[in-house]
């Protein structure tokens, strides 16, 4: 166990200062305004300037376009980015998953230029996983890819392709053998989004993010864009998916988060801080400060318990716990504030940065993104508690595939 403050050596301290100064110059009001407007989780200038320095994926070796950061430096960068605004960096996280598959499964002559551009902030890759009636069941993909010589023709549509409108490629799950058991008839492609036949339609969420439906109508691409073997898509997918669902054993000496839920906790933490500041500044009806009100103190305490619980719960469990904590406590904090808690950023009289109001809207998505909390509960039930799997009509094949 170790919860010490990281003592920075001179190099790291200098780097921290360098990063902070650079990011402060980079994240101008324009950047925030654009993100607020578009909800894209992306900013061209930010990505390209970070990429130019090797700071977009700074943990990668310099020869791959990164900055060869060690764990401490990487953590410094993450915290400094969070200090500015994590939202704009969302597409970086999204792209990072397929980049690993591209490196592993595509021939170097195709992969290398894409990887180089991606690391340098000029190329984004979005995830073409979910379909309009697919829920979280990726193996059930119906988007069809049919081979004709060196070319493939793709038809169908994908839902929740976040970032499609700013990305160059989509990492696409297609059905190539409709007669095979469902996880054995899947092939992955890296589809250039400027290919004729691709139509992108935006959808806005009530947390202000943008995602997309992407329609594929007789989209013809070359076989070189295939990622991995034909009908071997499930294994190709597995890499990134495993990572996303991983148990998250910490090999970093405490320099990485215990789960992706830590990010949800930070959103909750901001709201807690905001409410605490608001309480200090707000007079109670009797003229005292709301910070002296027993109920305010108690409710902040309750939120803090859930914040800490979310932060301390590891792996997929932490992802579920942190989402639950954020959903419940953001609602409770809005209640605590009363009507001013309803005012969003830029509204007249909004509290602070309206982090609490935002947290309440943002929270709902955390229970769904990257697999619903129910999917994760099922994984935990089976893999941690060892409970038997239900015998659903459509489950056998899927589960057999997962086990492998």
């Amino acid at each position: 166990m170790d919860f010490t403050l990281v003592e920075l050596d001179d190099d790291h301290r200098q780097l921290q200062q360098e990063i902070r100064t650079f990011l402060e110059g980079l994240f101008t009001p324009d950047v925030f305004a654009e993100e607020h407007e578009t909800g894209s989780g992306y900013n061209k200038k930010v990505y390209e300037e970070l990429g130019a320095r090797g700071w977009l994926y700074p943990e990668k070796p310099v020869e791959e376009g990164g900055a060869g950061f060690d764990l401490v430096a990487e953590r410094i960068m993450d915290l400094e980015l969070f200090r500015q605004d994590a939202r704009v960096m969302m597409m970086r996280g999204t792209s990072s998953l397929p980049l690993k598959a591209i490196r592993k499964y595509m021939p170097a002559d195709v992969a290398d230029p894409i990887l180089k551009d991606a690391v340098e902030g000029r190329v984004l890759v979005c995830l073409g996983y979910s379909e309009p009636d697919g829920g979280s069941d990726i193996a059930n993909a119906k988007v069809r890819a049919v081979q004709d010589g060196d070319m493939w023709t793709i038809n169908g549509s994908k839902m929740w392709t976040t970032g499609a409108h700013v990305s160059n490629y989509t990492f696409l799950v297609t059905r190539t053998d409709p007669d095979a058991p469902k996880h054995k008839g899947i092939t992955m492609f890296l589809v250039p989004l400027d290919t004729p036949g691709v139509t992108i339609q935006g959808i806005r969420t009530f947390s202000g993010e943008r995602t997309n439906i992407v329609y594929y109508e007789d989209v013809v691409i070359h076989d070189k864009y295939r990622v991995g073997g034909i009908n071997d898509g499930w294994n190709v997918l597995h890499g990134p998916l495993d990572e996303e669902h991983s148990i998250g054993l910490d090999m970093s000496g405490g320099l990485t988060d215990l789960s992706i839920g830590a990010g949800f906790c930070r959103v909750l933490g901001r709201a807690i801080n905001e409410v605490a500041e608001w309480a200090h500044k707000t007079p109670a009806p009797d003229g005292s400060s709301l910070a002296d009100d027993v109920q305010v103190r108690e409710r902040l305490g309750a939120a803090m318990v859930e914040y800490e619980a979310g932060l301390c719960t590891p792996g997929p469990m932490g992802r579920v716990k942190a989402s639950d904590a954020l959903v419940q406590q953001s609602a409770s904090l809005i209640d605590l504030m009363g009507p001013v808690g309803l005012l969003p950023l830029h509204a007249d009289g909004a509290v602070g940065e309206a982090d609490t109001e935002y947290a309440h809207r943002f929270a709902q998505g955390t229970a769904t993104y990257g697999g619903t909390v129910e999917v994760f509960r099922t994984i935990i039930a089976n893999h941690v508690l060892g409970l038997p799997k239900p015998n659903y009509p459509g489950a056998k094949v899927f589960m057999a595939g997962k086990k492998k």
């Binding site: 209640d335 009507p339 005012l343 229970a367």
Partner: protein, 346 residues
């Protein structure tokens, strides 16, 4: 509390109540489809719907016959509020109703006639007026007059033009009222009587808001129920999974109970206001919890879809807090409820 009281506990509606429920249910579902609700965002007010509601008697029904109203009581108003909530209708039905009733109770006669015919919207301040502290007033962006407590005075503040709307999560006509700056103020009552009228208006607002929150949770649940029957996973409708069906069932249970609590609170306000003074707060707290949970379940159950602004689920979700937190912290009311419990055993 007296657990051995020999009291009737009859929650059934008589025929007149049923007819009222049907009439306003039809009115709101026809006149306030979700398309209208969306069109009226972000202000949350439709003058046209308001006019129709006035025609329907929505602004006069709750006022005493002596001032030209229809003399309906809290039970009837609560039934209407439930239907109003079900349609998440963009009109200030609750604020206007409870404030106009308070004006009538205070013998106000300048503004009241125009309140009765709906041409002058009135609203209720949620907190006592403190010098130097403007207040966010529910319906304050469409109201010409706001009733507030200033010390021990019940004061009606009136303006020519309501202050600017403040965009908010629930898309209701919230506005900051800076009472210090308003010259047109009429003291309607002072001392105990002022507090009595103001507290009563608050109790009525909590009760009607509770009913409205129950009302809005029900169509949200229906969206979830219908979605769950058609969406499949692993070859079965998700509705057959207890991880899906049990949360919906718990919401249905909460709706059934919260509806009865709100109606019961209305009955006591009407017939025995001193007997169970804590019921409006209980109704409000439980309805707020019900709406919070109920609209979350719906939004979540639809996966990504429930998280989009296109989905009607979002309308209900955003109003669960957007309506529920308008008058301050529902949970803060627990203290007053606890005080009542402590008083009854003392």
């Amino acid at each position: 509390m007296d657990l051995l009281e020999l009291r009737r506990q009859d929650y059934s509606l008589d025929e007149d109540h049923q007819l009222l429920l049907t009439a306003f249910g039809e009115f709101f579902s026809e006149q306030s489809p979700t398309s209208l609700v969306r069109e009226c965002e972000p202000l949350g007010f439709s003058q046209d719907l308001w006019n129709r509601l006035v025609e329907m008697g929505g602004t006069s029904m709750g006022l005493p016959e002596s001032v030209g109203g229809d003399g309906a009581g809290m039970i009837e108003l609560t039934l209407v509020a439930e239907e109003f909530g079900r349609a998440i209708a963009p009109v200030p039905y609750i604020e206007h109703t409870v404030t106009a009733r308070a004006l009538a109770a205070a013998g106000e006669s300048t503004v009241l006639p125009a309140a009765l015919d709906g041409s002058h919207i009135v609203a209720l301040a949620s907190f006592p007026v403190q010098a130097g502290s403007p207040q966010l007033v529910p319906a304050g962006a469409v109201a010409r007059s706001v009733l507030a407590l200033v010390g021990d005075d019940l004061v009606l503040f009136t303006v020519d033009t309501p202050p600017a709307h403040v965009v908010n999560q629930g898309s209701t006509p919230l506005a900051w009222w800076d009472f210090d700056a308003i010259a047109d103020r009429a003291v309607l009552a002072t001392g105990a009587r002022a507090h009595e009228i103001y507290d009563r208006a608050h109790d009525e607002r909590m009760t009607l808001t509770a009913a409205a929150l129950v009302g809005l949770t029900e169509p949200a649940l229906n969206i979830a129920v219908e979605f769950s029957k058609t969406r499949e996973t692993m070859g079965v409708p998700i509705a057959t999974l207890q991880g899906v069906s049990f949360p919906m069932t718990d919401v249905a249970i909460a709706i059934a109970g919260a509806r009865n609590v709100a109606r019961k609170a209305a009955w006591y306000l009407e017939h025995a206001p001193d007997e169970r003074p804590e019921l409006p707060a209980i109704a409000m707290v439980y309805a707020s919890q019900t709406a919070t949970k109920g609209t979350q379940v719906t939004a979540h159950l639809q996966g990504g879809l429930g998280f989009t602004i296109e989905a009607d689920a979002s309308l209900y979700f955003l109003r669960s807090k957007g309506w529920g937190a308008l008058a301050g912290d529902p949970q803060a009311k627990l203290i007053a409820i606890g005080d009542h419990v402590l008083n009854t055993v003392n």
